[in-house]
């Protein structure tokens, strides 16, 4: 994504403290955003009410590729809690929609 000027943003309903420790523990190279208590998950249609460990609303796992104009050009939404987009499929989608032009 960096080669395309873009980036990766991870989003969950965790609070700031949890986001900070997660990023440090897993040594994630991208920013981890906190949507705790905000209607963002509803805006994206990705709210899972009472999905959390303590019955709180959490995100449905999903990967969305957003073009500079704001259009979602590719997406993968989990049908089961263990579902994740295979990294190779994400990379293929990035290559397809945002090819890096050679010199």
């Amino acid at each position: 994504m960096r080669a395309r000027g873009g980036g990766i943003l991870a989003i969950s309903a965790d609070d700031l403290e949890e986001a900070r420790s997660l990023r440090a523990e897993e040594e994630l190279p991208f920013r981890v955003l906190s949507a705790a208590g905000l209607p963002l998950l509803d805006d994206y249609g990705l709210a899972h009410p009472e999905g959390g460990l303590e019955g709180e609303t959490i995100a449905i796992p999903a990967e969305l590729l957003v073009a500079p104009d704001g259009a979602i050009v590719w997406q993968h939404v989990a049908g089961r809690i263990t579902d994740r987009a295979p990294p190779l499929r994400i990379l293929a989608a990035i290559d397809e929609h945002f090819p890096v032009r050679g010199p």
Binding site: D14, R23, E63, P68, G79, R80
Partner: protein, 139 residues
């Protein structure tokens, strides 16, 4: 003086200790195999290794208990059957998420990052495309 009970059949029932022990090993390996393969997206999503181990456990356990009348063998086979039902329920019931459909355009947002700095999608998009990764939580 006690009289030994007369076996109902002329031959004693076969003892299938090895088979029932192997079935228990497979039952224990079923969740472990899924855990070990959690970083493989296909195995993680399908639970293929866990399914195979569970199928092996059920086959060995039930076939062992079929003719072996010892109580503990039957109890183990029953436990394995229960685990199989629980696993089916967890996979096809409990773990299923409500249907979700993100909108065609990404709603703009400003959210704090891990250090509390606000991040706004529209200004990030000016730099280039963004991959948004929604995840359930830190656990």
């Amino acid at each position: 003086m006690t009289v030994p009970p007369t076996p109902s059949a002329s031959r004693p029932p076969p003892r299938r200790t090895t088979r029932i022990v192997f079935s228990l090993v497979a039952l224990i390996l079923a969740p472990l195999s899924w855990w070990w393969s959690i970083d493989d997206p296909y195995l993680r999503a399908s639970g293929a290794t866990a399914w195979m181990m569970l199928a092996a456990a059920l086959f060995l356990g039930l076939s062992a208990a079929w003719r072996d009348h010892r109580r503990w063998v039957r109890a183990v086979a029953g436990l394995e059957l229960l685990c199989g039902v629980l696993f089916l329920w967890a996979f096809f019931g409990w773990a299923v998420l409500p249907a979700a459909a993100p909108p065609p355009r990404a709603p703009d947002f400003t959210l704090p990052d891990q250090d509390g700095h606000p991040v706004t999608l529209s200004s990030e998009l000016r730099a280039g495309p963004q991959l948004l990764v929604f995840f359930r939580g830190h656990w």
